[in-house]
Symmetry: C2
Subunit: 244 residues, 2 copies
Amino acid sequence: MVLVAARNPLNIGAAARAMSNFGFHHLRVVNPYDAAFREARSAVGASELLTNAEEYKTVAEAVADCTVVVGTTAVRHRELQHPLRRLEYGARLIRKHLASSRVALLFGSEKFGLSNAALSHCHWLIRIPTCEENISMNLGQAVAICLYELVRDAKAVQTAEKVKSATAEELERITTTLLQAMRASGYLDRRPIADVEERMRRLVRRLNLPARDAVVWLGILRQILWKLRSGKIPKTEDPRSLRS
Amino acid sequence: MVLVAARNPLNIGAAARAMSNFGFHHLRVVNPYDAAFREARSAVGASELLTNAEEYKTVAEAVADCTVVVGTTAVRHRELQHPLRRLEYGARLIRKHLASSRVALLFGSEKFGLSNAALSHCHWLIRIPTCEENISMNLGQAVAICLYELVRDAKAVQTAEKVKSATAEELERITTTLLQAMRASGYLDRRPIADVEERMRRLVRRLNLPARDAVVWLGILRQILWKLRSGKIPKTEDPRSLRS
C-alpha cells in the first residue's frame, strides 16, 4: 500500500490500523507532510507496521519493484486516461495478480486525491461505489474498504459458531408441558381449541428453539405447571417429579 | 444505524460521513458521551445527517420501530448468546430484510464494543473478517466497511468508461511504419530477423493499444521515420506525405 502526500497523521495511523486488521504488511509513503508522518509514527502505540513504513521521494521509486500499479479515485465521469473499475471487480483482478506478483495500491492526499503525475504511474484505477451526492471519502475509511474487499470471502456463508437446534424429543416435552399448563390454568375451558394438540405442536415447532433455550423453556413451564397445580392440590406434586 | 455510547467525536463524524457516502440517512445515537456528540454535531461542515441524528436514552427506545436488530462485534470465539455471521453473509440477510422492513445496525463504543445489555436487544450479530492478530477495528472504519458491504454490487464487472481499442487498420499502419523505421535506422541490417513482417505484426498486436493511443504512436513513428529518411535524403519526403 502506498500513501501519496498524505496530510493528516490520524489518517496515516488509520490506514496502518486497517492494514493490520486485514493482514497487509508493507506500507510505503511518498512525500508525506513531514510533520504528519513523524507524528503518526511516534504516536503512542504506533504499530510495528507504521514504524517499518518505507519513505520515498517519488511515486516512481515507491512502485519500482511492483508489476501492477493500481490507483484509487473518487472521480467517475471525468475523462480519465485510465481504465476505471469498480472496487468489486478491480479487487478481483488485484487478487489474481497478487497470487504471482507484487501489486501497488495507491491512495492520494485527503484533499486532492492522486495528482495527474502520480496517476501516470498507474496501470488502471479503482473507485469505491459511493453515492453521486457524496463521492468524497475519508482516507482511512477508503483504505479500510479497499483492503476489506481484497480479503473478503464471497463464499462465506454460515456462522462460525453454529447454533445447535433443539431435538424433536425436547420439543415434544415442551409441547406436553405447555398443554398441561394450558389445561391447569383453565385456558382451554375458556377458549376451547379444535385439534389443540396438533396446533400447539406446530406452534412450538415454529419457535425454532436452539437446544440450550429448550432447556430453559421447559424449566419455566414446569415451574409454572407446578405452581398452577399446587394452587389446587397443595404440594402433592414436586416439579422435580416431572423431570423424565 | 445506531451508535451506542460512542466516545470520540471524530468517530461519530466519520460514521456520519460513511453513511452519506453510501446513501444511508437515519443515524441514531444512544447515550453518547455528551461532549463528544455536541462537538461532532457542531463541527464545521457537520452534515445534515449528523444534525438530524436522533438521540435516545436506551437501546430499547432506539430500536423500538425496527423489525430486525443486528449487532456488530469483533469477538469470534467467545461463547455468544447469538448467532454470529460473517459480514459477507450477514449483509446479504440484512439486504433481504431491508426490502420489506426496518433494520437497526448497532455499533458499540470504541473501547468496549456493545455491552451485554445492548447485545440482548439484538437478533443476531455480524463480525468483520479481520485477522486473528488484530481484530479490533477503528469505529469509523468498521461502520464504513459494513455500509459498503450493504451497497456493494456482486455483479459489478466492467469499467464505467470502456476503453475503445484500436482497429486492425490502425494497427497495420503502425506495423508498416515501424518496419520502415527499422529499415531506415539500419536495425535490420545489424540484426536480421526471419519473417520480420509477421513478427512485428504480432509484436504490435500484443500491445493491445487503445484507439487514442494508436494515433499517438503512429504520429511518433512517422516523425521518427521522416527524420531518419531526411538524414539521408534531405527534405525529399515530408511526414505529411506518409499520411494515408
